[in-house]
Symmetry: C4
Amino acid sequence: MLEQLKKEVYEANMQLPKLDLVTFTWGNVSGIDRDQGLFVIKPSGVDYDKLQPEDLVVVDLTGKVVEGKLNPSSDTPTHTYLYNHFPKIGGIVHTHSPWAVAFAAAKMDIPALNTTHADTFYTDVPAADALTKEEIEEDYEGNTGKTIVRTFNERHLDYEATPGSLVSQHGPFCWGETPAKAVYNAKVLEVVAEEDYHTLQLTRSDSHLPQYLLDKHYYRKHGENAYYGQNNAQSKTHAKRK
Amino acid sequence: MLEQLKKEVYEANMQLPKLDLVTFTWGNVSGIDRDQGLFVIKPSGVDYDKLQPEDLVVVDLTGKVVEGKLNPSSDTPTHTYLYNHFPKIGGIVHTHSPWAVAFAAAKMDIPALNTTHADTFYTDVPAADALTKEEIEEDYEGNTGKTIVRTFNERHLDYEATPGSLVSQHGPFCWGETPAKAVYNAKVLEVVAEEDYHTLQLTRSDSHLPQYLLDKHYYRKHGENAYYGQNNAQSKTHAKRK
Amino acid sequence: MLEQLKKEVYEANMQLPKLDLVTFTWGNVSGIDRDQGLFVIKPSGVDYDKLQPEDLVVVDLTGKVVEGKLNPSSDTPTHTYLYNHFPKIGGIVHTHSPWAVAFAAAKMDIPALNTTHADTFYTDVPAADALTKEEIEEDYEGNTGKTIVRTFNERHLDYEATPGSLVSQHGPFCWGETPAKAVYNAKVLEVVAEEDYHTLQLTRSDSHLPQYLLDKHYYRKHGENAYYGQNNAQSKTHAKRK
Amino acid sequence: MLEQLKKEVYEANMQLPKLDLVTFTWGNVSGIDRDQGLFVIKPSGVDYDKLQPEDLVVVDLTGKVVEGKLNPSSDTPTHTYLYNHFPKIGGIVHTHSPWAVAFAAAKMDIPALNTTHADTFYTDVPAADALTKEEIEEDYEGNTGKTIVRTFNERHLDYEATPGSLVSQHGPFCWGETPAKAVYNAKVLEVVAEEDYHTLQLTRSDSHLPQYLLDKHYYRKHGENAYYGQNNAQSKTHAKRK
């Protein structure tokens, strides 16, 4: 079942080592078929150089395994939570990429300091609250999704315009319209985290981008007035936010 | 048309990933035929591993596409502006190379602190002013060229002796006599930015090079008294500046 | 003799350059056969690209060479000491990996600041005391093992739950149930050291993980309630520590 | 002439890009035949991937080219000066390796903070004084050698025990018994510079190694009591310094 989606999710997973986003097995990508309400995810702890498309596990939106001989990623409840609460996303990726982890451990947002950031993320990328003792013991991975969603709600962030979040003390989760797009966003976040780290050491001035520059770069690439690339207005669902 | 120039510009573009200057499609190189008043530039958003010489777009000095099936780089108006105002340059490169971006985001010049810098850049590499809201909304990419040229004029910089600039909050633009030379200069800038970052963390003393050392290293490689390499006095147009 | 173990130790040694943990010959892995009381170790100063399984040296638990034409690693007395005092370990690795060395030179523990750390190391990784003049002159390499064991005793650390240590002014030693697992732990330590360095530059707040998060991540992967990977409860000897 | 030495010097030059010590053509290695009083050096500005053994230039100890169709490295007078004043060295390497350059630009010694350093360099690696205006204009490259030798004399350093130096505002020069050994030392210096940079950011305590640890590590590898590697007492000329 879901052979095409498995192929997409497999290929998105295999991009993680190619883009230097994972060490060992520390990452996972999933992709969803919204019509069937099923998502496909990497099995837990399998080496990337041994991973095969048929190893992927199919899970429903209650988190139950529907097909697959292997255990799904231990982060499956986080993916389930995010798919249920961010209804327009098609793929999710979690990594322990080191620059994003450095910010997550410091419980710091990745600030929007340059146009590389603004091309993909319309705002600072938040560091969602660390989980409490109760949240960890009750349902660690599910509540990891919950703290992300809660943070987006509290800060009035649009998950389509800011397609990723840190979880404090842990690391980054990114998402997108497709599994491939989610991985692209995860790489952007890592690159931007590295650049921001260095900028923050160079200056003590607040060097956040002004809103009009965020608007300009974001809408060069997204929405009906986009003019970057070969498919202008490629993403008509992103109408200009005021 | 311009087959030889397309080949040069294609090869210069393909150097960007080889020299670790780009992630994904975040860079572009152009080259100009001054006799015909036409330049050749990378198409917008095309992957480097799919780029072919015939994909390149030919543009005139008003910024109008003269040949090509694909959209030119969205940064084309910046290239156009620079070719019009820096009449001796033959190639331009824009990247989002991460060390240069870190300085651009901090709105800091890349200071001349070592001889690696002085071999290629005769002065600090300036961080041109960030664009105002009006400049961004009126003509973002064109005004990106304008802020560079204005900065060079205000600071009395010679664009041949300082073949590159940062644009604050954005990233680096470099140029040179040829597209290949522009890419070479972009790599030097990235290497020097990394070195300078570390030097600035090591010491709080002002460690700018003295003018006589800048002179020595720059004129070892440039001008009629050059003695580096196998083609001495290779660049006779760079007479010694006082 | 010990052909299977030699193969394992050889392969674990060859992982060091693949995982970017060594420059030149600056590392060594050993593995022990507890029944025979013999361990196999890399010969001293041999290039990784010339190393062959038959070059490995067999040593007994008094540190005496039992088989081998080459000198064993000059760090052999450290391995001997650790095998004698940490009776459940099956492999040891020493490297000069640069991020771990940076902490060792600063005489700083590698603090538990993120879940990447907690997945493998249950506590901060200690920087064992630098050796005194007397210890260095008496038996440098043996006393290098002694300072590690003494530090674990003084701090009441469990060497199975914290499978590695720095030696101040020198570098990291890691261990594990097998030579391969020791190398895995050495790579985790290096990755975590890099992440921690950046976190410590980003914030002056104490961002140590709380104990309940250390528990959660460590016991996701270890002990009878483990649920990460395909072999749950893979390591039954790690009962939950209170 | 000097075919064997040319081969050695060629191979040592080709190690520079393999060890990530050069960008573009920014490095050069030479080697000397002491009996004939002639040294072989890389030609100026030739790409490493085009360099052939027969391109190397033979120079005498007055700096005069004796054989070769190409210009020798522009740094030839520095090599000449060093060969004349450090009579026991057999090879010299100059690079612009970025971590060493960062210290040179800050005019800071590379301090002896860890045993990786002590295995190769018996003391801090000095940052020789920057050249004065007069020295630069009179004989830049020759005086670059002179500032190194003067610094070693003023600080009573032994050039065999400390086989390298920074030149302030410029970069590193290393040397050794052979061209290959000089390149080895240049790589050690770069690795140690990177580690030291991070240690210096982690702590404000003085973490210099004590003399007894410098002695221990240096004499494990050098002198009649050496016991590292397969050729003990490999370097009998290094008797223990008091």
